[in-house]
């Protein structure tokens, strides 16, 4: 039951879950953000339309997003073995989680950037701004509220994925829930892990929303 050993296990689980959520989210943005920017810029209404680049990124990101995460995990086992040396544990899962997150993040970034009023982009062009300036000083700054809201959603989704990865050899709260709740029928442990997961999502959501509101200057 909930003895000291179990509590320690759960605390460790929270740490592992946070690690498996935040690191892949961050890495996911490292790869996904440029892709999302490219999708926005090269789209036919973008500031530098390029059908080939757009279609290639579009196609790849759609493929990855249409594979259910659990199956993607199994598919990526050989790759994780090459990169991390083993196919189980938190570090191995980070590879798969990042690969799952990047295309999803690319889409989220694209949708945020496309919300930016075309008139503002036109105004920047009329001032002689280069495309790079428009990306960094217009698109990314004007869309920051939406980018932050979407980052919150992305983080919660990756947290869900990391729990799912518990079924195939990851650590963290998901793994604890599977091991104790599913394999050993300890329903109370399962319930505790579920409550902890819910709390984590709530806290992340709260922080994300607070930050996005704080940085929004569009209020009167």
């Amino acid at each position: 039951m909930l003895d000291e050993k179990m509590i320690m296990l759960l605390i460790e689980g929270i740490g592992q879950t946070l690690y498996m959520t935040l690191v892949p989210t961050l890495l996911g943005y490292v790869f996904g953000m440029p892709l999302g920017i490219l999708l926005t810029v090269t789209d036919k209404d973008g500031i530098r339309p390029n059908a080939v680049v757009y279609k290639v990124i579009d196609f790849i990101s759609n493929i990855f997003r249409s594979i259910p995460f659990l199956i993607l995990l199994i598919l990526l086992i050989p790759l994780t073995k090459i990169l991390v040396g083993k196919s189980y544990g938190s570090n191995a899962m980070i590879v798969s989680l990042t690969i799952a997150a990047a295309p999803y993040i690319a889409r989220m970034v694209e949708s945020s950037l496309k919300e930016v009023d075309h008139g503002v982009i036109e105004a920047a062009q009329s001032m002689g701004a280069s495309n790079l300036t428009i990306v960094f000083k217009v698109l990314l700054t004007e869309a920051r509220t939406s980018l932050m809201v979407n980052a919150t959603i992305v983080t919660a989704t990756i947290l869900g994925y990391s729990a799912m990865a518990g079924t195939v050899g990851a650590d963290g709260l998901g793994a604890i829930a599977v091991r104790y709740g599913y394999n050993r029928y300890q329903f109370d442990i399962m319930l505790v892990t579920v409550i902890l997961l819910v709390l984590l999502v709530q806290i992340m959501q709260g922080i994300g929303m607070m930050l996005s509101r704080r940085f929004d200057r569009r209020r009167t």
Partner: protein
């Protein structure tokens, strides 16, 4: 003298849902330094496309645009960006950066030009003073009124020290009072800094207010152009006549033959009875005669109205007037 903007055989067409739209057809126009040139036309006439061809936000499909001696089509992308710094533009919806403060919006073109932040801020503050918004420097666009937003946009455009200012329906989202003050500001800028201004509008009033010259665009064609005086005194094209007379066009010819004489007493002359009646029935009446006199210190007015042809409607109007406590008398054969 060479024109500062020379438009030669300008053509622009684009595809819109498998339809070839010919937005501009062989437009030729010379705009000289210091002009305030109005380009007027109905919506969809092609005037917004035309103004976007002047800084190549839209690339023409034919002809050429020569700005300050440079053929824009011959420029590389980098040269075009440089050329655009001399061609400022303001917009109907202001297009300010919503996440930047007022002063940072004005700093934006200076940042693009690579100016140091402190220097840029000082310069931006000067331009905010010119438009009378220095106390709003730290505010954000969402906190400003429409007129203030347009003033910020004007300060922003002035910051890049342009030779030409393009105004795309810059006052169309503003109320008449604010429109007047913005137009006044544009006029001052034109006189003080010698900036050539091109004003795109669908309102003749805007042209009358500030323009020295006007070009009339109709279905992608340049219908007529010249000084505002010339065009106003003797408009030649059908489109010019329509735009000039649009204010006082007769609504419809009155065909009704029924006339009534009404007499206002002292009390009823405060209420706009005729105006209210026209609004209530959404049908005009023709005022054939009106007079007020002072009878023993009491103001009385009389009026003869020509009612609409529809008999039922006429009856209703008479009832309405009687309801407003007016003396109503029907006149037989007043109009022939």
């Amino acid at each position: 003298m060479e024109p500062i903007i020379k438009i030669v055989h300008l053509d622009k067409s684009f595809r819109q849902r498998d339809m070839e739209v010919h937005a501009l057809k062989d437009v030729n126009l010379d705009i000289y330094k210091g002009d305030i040139y109005g380009i007027i036309g109905m919506s969809g006439a092609g005037k917004s496309t035309l103004v976007r061809c002047l800084n190549f936000l839209e690339r023409p499909t034919g002809g050429s645009v020569i700005v300050d001696g440079k053929d824009l089509a011959s420029l590389s992308e980098k040269q075009l960006r440089e050329a655009r710094k001399d061609i400022g533009m303001i917009f109907q919806h202001f297009n300010l950066l919503m996440q930047r403060s007022v002063i940072d919006n004005v700093c934006f073109p200076l940042e693009i030009a690579g100016m140091k932040k402190r220097e840029a801020r000082e310069k931006a503050m000067e331009y905010l003073k010119i438009v009378g918004l220095e106390e709003k420097a730290k505010a954000y666009p969402a906190q400003l009124s429409g007129g203030q937003k347009q003033r910020v946009a004007i300060a922003r455009v002035l910051a890049s020290d342009p030779k030409i200012l393009l105004c795309d329906e810059a006052t169309s989202a503003l109320d008449p009072q604010t429109t007047k003050s913005i137009l006044q500001l544009l006029k001052e800028i034109n006189q003080k800094y010698g900036i050539t201004i091109v004003v795109i509008t669908h309102e003749m009033a805007v042209v009358q207010e500030i323009c020295s010259h006007v070009a009339i665009i109709d279905h992608g064609n340049l219908a007529e152009h010249g000084t505002v005086e010339e065009i106003f005194q003797s408009p030649k094209s059908k489109e010019a006549k329509r735009l000039i007379y649009q204010g006082f066009e007769r609504v419809a010819e009155m065909k009704g033959r029924r006339c009534v004489r009404i007499v206002f007493s002292e009390n009823s002359s405060f209420e706009p009875v005729i105006g209210n009646m026209v609004l209530a029935f959404k049908t005009p009446v023709n005022i054939l005669y009106a007079n007020t006199q002072d009878l023993d210190g009491v103001a009385t007015g009389e009026m003869i109205l020509q009612l609409p042809e529809d008999k039922v409607l006429g009856d209703k109007m008479i009832a309405y007037l009687k309801g407003a406590k007016l003396a109503v008398e029907e006149l037989i054969d007043y109009v022939g």
